[in-house]
Structures are given as structure tokens and as C-alpha cells.
């Protein structure tokens, strides 16, 4: 767990970057710090591994005051990922990943073996280990950055806008990867971004900062979206706050029935009962079947795109389990909203 207790940071030029911050970042959870530029989110992150020293207040990692520890040793015990990866251009991918193990004195052989293992963990081909960073794509470099941060298996991971410089498609991939990794590794992650969607996707808790280093609200994404503390938070989350909330709810509880026979559109299945497309009188329209784990938002989206307002539901293997109507989804979406707003 990371604890901020009445932390203040004033830079020599007089600007206050962080104002009286008290915040807990729970163990094994992802805390996302969001806000526009200059709101103190990055400074907050950088105070955890003493890249910035607080003016007053205390920061504890695992119960220990960070300022009481040797800065270099503290940093080796905390994984760090930065924007555009900050890889060492003169070292191979493998040696980049091995950085912290080598600093910890593991020896070259053991450090390289660990680095090779991590290539796979972050979804990179084994032969990319011998390459240099500039020979990789932006997304691949970012993966190396994550692998490097994980190398010594630190309990805490600091990520400073790690996916800010890659295109949206790759960013989504990297976010998925991170969520998958986090399921396995359960690190205490502090993640800085200015992208609200990214925050909602990744965060177990989201801390919203306002210019001047004020923490405005810190809550779970569903709570934040359903009950923003004030107009600033509501504005920051954006007009599509309701839809964002639906992106966090799954389709699992929406009732389903058998696919209709007759009617204007028929759902065509293959031999394995996997949906192929919708067949009308003289047209075929594509179908995108959804699983229980898909979000209510994607269900709503799919029901709007579907010719008869029905979505095809499938199990993990892609076999049809039933269909749900636009009304079912709509009703459920409304309920989800009301529940979230009344709760807590």
C-alpha cells in the first residue's frame, strides 16, 4: 500500500504542484491519477520513488517512509514506466530489460535469463531481445518499457502516461495486455494519464486532480461516473459519462431468449451453431456476437446496429446461447445507472 499523508510540494519557482494531498493507494490495485496538464498528477507519481522530494508531509510505501530510505535502492524496488518508454538506445532490448536486475547484482547470466522470460510475458518475440530499441515500433518499445519495470518483480509499479505516444489501436492493445498482466501479477500500480477513457478502463480507483495540485475526488470508476463530487469532476468526465458507466457493466445479467423464427430477419448459424449473419428477404447483414463478459455499452451499440434490434449472445467458444432485445438491454442499462447512483 502507498500512503500520502498531508503531502505538499512547492517548487523553487513558487508554484504549488501538490496541495495537501492525503491519499491511499491500495495494495494490488490500480490507482489512476487523472487531470489536465499542470494539475500535479505526475509530480505526485514522481514523489513515490523520490524523483521529486516532497516539501512537507510523508509518503509511505509498504509502511516505510520513502525519505528515510536510500533513494537509489528505493527506486530499484519500484518499477517505473515512462512515456515513449525512455529505453536506453545503446542497449539491446534484453539488456534494457535486465537493467534493474544488473543493478541489484544478479549477475549477467541470471539477469538475461529473466529478461528473456519477460519478453514472452509482455508478448514480444524471443528474437526481438537482440535488437535495439530504434528497431522496434512504438507499441513494441512500450512493451519493453513494461518488461523493464517488471524485471526485478517489484511490488509497486509507477506508470507515467506510458501509452500516451502510441496510436489508439495499439493503445487499446497495450491496455488489454496490462489488465491481463495485472490479473496475474496483482501489482500495486499508480498510473498517470490525462485520458478519461483510459482511466475508466484501467483504474480500480481514480483520483481526479485540479490545477494547483488539489485532489478533487478519489473513488472507484463506477462511483465516480455515477456520483461525481462536483461540476468540475462531471465536466472532466465528459457528457458521455452515462455511456462510460455502461462500459464498466457487463451483459451477463441481461435476460436472453431463443432466436426468433420467421420475422423479417433470420439469424443464420453454421454447423457448430456459431452465428454467421442476419439474413433478410434480399439482403445479408453482418452480426457481431457478444459474450457475457462484453460491456453493456457494446451491447447497446450492437443492438442499434442490428437490423431488428436483437443481439446474438454466445458462450466462450462462440456458440449461440440466445438473443437479447434492445429493450432488455436498455432497461438493464437504466437499472445499472440507478443502482450506481443510489449505492454508497
Amino acid at each position: 500500500m502507498i500512503q500520502f499523508d498531508a503531502v505538499h510540494k512547492r517548487f523553487p519557482n513558487g508554484t504549488t504542484a501538490v496541495h495537501d494531498l492525503s491519499l491511499e493507494m491500495p495494495e494490488g490495485g490500480v490507482t489512476v491519477l487523472v487531470g489536465s496538464s499542470g494539475c500535479g498528477k505526475t509530480t505526485t507519481l514522481r514523489m513515490i520513488n523520490r524523483m521529486v522530494e516532497p516539501t512537507s508531509g510523508t509518503i509511505r510505501v509498504g509502511g516505510k517512509d520513502v525519505t528515510q530510505q536510500d533513494a537509489a535502492e528505493l527506486r530499484r524496488s519500484i518499477g517505473y514506466v515512462i512515456q515513449q518508454s525512455g529505453l536506453f538506445p545503446h542497449r539491446t532490448v534484453l539488456d534494457n530489460i535486465a537493467t534493474v536486475p544488473l543493478l541489484l547484482g544478479w549477475g549477467r547470466r541470471k539477469a538475461r535469463a529473466r529478461a528473456a522470460e519477460l519478453l514472452e510475458t509482455v508478448g514480444l518475440a524471443a528474437d526481438s531481445g537482440k535488437r535495439y530499441p530504434h528497431q522496434l515500433s512504438g507499441g513494441q518499445q512500450q512493451r519493453v518499457g513494461v518488461a523493464r519495470a517488471l524485471a526485478a518483480d517489484p511490488p509497486v509499479l509507477l506508470m507515467d502516461e506510458p501509452f500516451g505516444a502510441v496510436d489508439p489501436v495499439v493503445r487499446t492493445q497495450l491496455q488489454d495486455e496490462l489488465l491481463r498482466l495485472q490479473k496475474e501479477l496483482s501489482k500495486t500500480i499508480v498510473f498517470v494519464t490525462h485520458d478519461v477513457d483510459e482511466a475508466v478502463r484501467l483504474g480500480d480507483q481514480i483520483a481526479i486532480f485540479r490545477t494547483g495540485g488539489h485532489l478533487v475526488q478519489c473513488a472507484a470508476p463506477t462511483e465516480l461516473l455515477a456520483r461525481p463530487a462536483d461540476d468540475f469532476v462531471a465536466d472532466f468526465l465528459g457528457a458521455e459519462r452515462g455511456l462510460k458507466l455502461l462500459s464498466l457493466k457487463t451483459l451477463a445479467d441481461v435476460p436472453q431468449g431463443p432466436a426468433p423464427e420467421g420475422g423479417a430477419w433470420t439469424l443464420v448459424l453454421d454447423e457448430a451453431r456459431k452465428p454467421l449473419h442476419w439474413a433478410g428477404k434480399d439482403a445479408e447483414l453482418p452480426v457481431r456476437p457478444l459474450k457475457d463478459t462484453d460491456s453493456l455499452l457494446s451491447a447497446l451499440n450492437e443492438s442499434v446496429a442490428s437490423p431488428n434490434g436483437l443481439i446474438a449472445r454466445v458462450d466462450a467458444d462462440g456458440v449461440l446461447t440466445g438473443v437479447s432485445s434492445r429493450d432488455d438491454i436498455h432497461e438493464h442499462a437504466g437499472q445499472a445507472h440507478t443502482e450506481a447512483r443510489v449505492a454508497a
Binding site: R75, G86, F88, P89, R91, H134, L136
Partner: protein, 213 residues
């Protein structure tokens, strides 16, 4: 102007030893130049107020006429190889110091920051991150300093040293062009060869610069 080929044939031993002596003087000077300029460059790079002073001082040294330097050194180190090397070293400093400082400046702040955030201490960052990344710019300075030193060694003929430069005085005094021409050609060959070797060395030392994606 004709070349007396038989003179060359009769003097191969002398020419070889003069060439070696010439190269030794130049390379020793570059070696000490690098040794002195590396720490000075680190100071100039880190301590802003000292940068102007150090770079300015090396510029001033450079403006001293070469013969004057040797004359100034005579009372201290006499008519020796040491005087030659000290004089040449002083001249390499201006190039080496400036390039090393610029090389260190060229290391991306992001990379240094990453090293720090990973828990690398300052000295290790300097040795394993900053110097390697500054190497191409430093090597550019070493190449200039080397070629410059090779051409400057001849001036030390005035104090009885000077490697291949001795061929010039010999030729002039006897009004016999062959040694002069041979001296010039060998000096140029030496400079070209040394430069080529340094390019090869740099290639070997910077594997990350080779295959551009």
C-alpha cells in the same frame, strides 16, 4: 622537382623509425588529451558557471603559436619528447573538451532520467549511459585531434624532435626535395590511416548505430 628513388631505398630504416616516432608523439598527445578532457568536460557539463571558463580557457591555449609553446616549455622540460607531447596535448584540448561537453549535452534528458528512476547512481549513469551515448560526438573530436596532432608533430623539429618533420629541415638545408616530399606524403598517409582506424573503432564501439530500422 624529381624524386631520388634510390635515396628512399637507402633510408628505409630511418624513414620507418621516424614514422613510428612521429605517430608515437601524436598518439601520446591525444591519449593524454582525452585523459585530461574527459573529467574536465564532466565538470563543464555539470557545473554551468565553470563551462564558459573551461571552454574559454582551452580556446586561449589554442591561440598560443605552436613554436611559442615549445619555447615556453623549454625551461621546464628541455629538449625532450616530453616537451613535444605537452605542447601537442595542449592543442588537442580545445577540440576534445568542446566535443566531449557537446557529446554529454546531446544525451537525451529522458534517457538520463530513466537511468535515475531505475536506481542507477550518478557515477554509473555517467560511465554506462552518458559516455556511451556521447561517444559519437566525442569520437568526432578524437579524430580531429588525432589528424591535427599528426600534422603538428613536425613543428617540434625546432626542439630537435618532430618525427617526419626532420625530413623537411634536412631537405631544405641541403636543397634536396626528396626528403621533403617523402615527409609530406608519409604524414598524409599516417593521418589518413589513423583516421580510418578511428572510424573502424567507433563502428566497433557503437553497435546500436549500425542497423537502422
Amino acid at each position: 622537382m624529381t624524386i631520388d628513388w634510390s635515396w628512399i631505398g637507402d633510408h628505409t630504416d630511418d624513414l620507418t623509425s621516424l614514422t613510428i616516432s612521429h605517430l608515437q608523439a601524436a598518439l601520446t598527445a591525444v591519449f593524454f588529451g582525452v585523459l585530461i578532457s574527459l573529467p574536465l568536460a564532466v565538470v563543464a557539463h555539470r557545473v554551468r558557471p565553470l563551462r564558459g571558463f573551461l571552454l574559454g580557457f582551452s580556446n586561449v591555449l589554442f591561440t598560443i603559436p605552436s613554436i611559442a609553446i615549445f619555447v615556453l616549455l623549454l625551461p621546464i622540460s628541455g629538449l625532450t619528447r616530453t616537451t613535444t607531447v605537452i605542447g601537442l596535448t595542449v592543442y588537442t584540448l580545445v577540440v576534445l573538451l568542446r566535443n566531449t561537453v557537446e557529446g554529454l549535452d546531446s544525451v537525451p534528458a529522458k534517457t538520463k532520467e530513466a537511468a535515475k528512476a531505475m536506481g542507477t547512481r550518478p557515477l554509473r549513469t555517467l560511465l554506462t549511459v552518458e559516455f556511451p551515448l556521447a561517444l559519437p560526438v566525442i569520437m568526432a573530436g578524437v579524430r580531429i585531434a588525432t589528424v591535427m596532432s599528426i600534422s603538428l608533430v613536425s613543428v617540434a623539429t625546432y626542439i630537435g624532435d618532430g618525427g617526419l618533420g626532420q625530413l623537411f629541415t634536412d631537405g631544405f638545408q641541403r636543397n634536396f626535395p626528396t626528403p621533403v616530399i617523402v615527409g609530406v606524403v608519409l604524414t598524409i598517409l599516417l593521418a589518413v590511416a589513423a583516421d580510418a582506424l578511428l572510424v573502424a573503432l567507433q563502428y566497433a564501439l557503437t553497435p546500436w548505430k549500425r542497423r537502422r530500422a
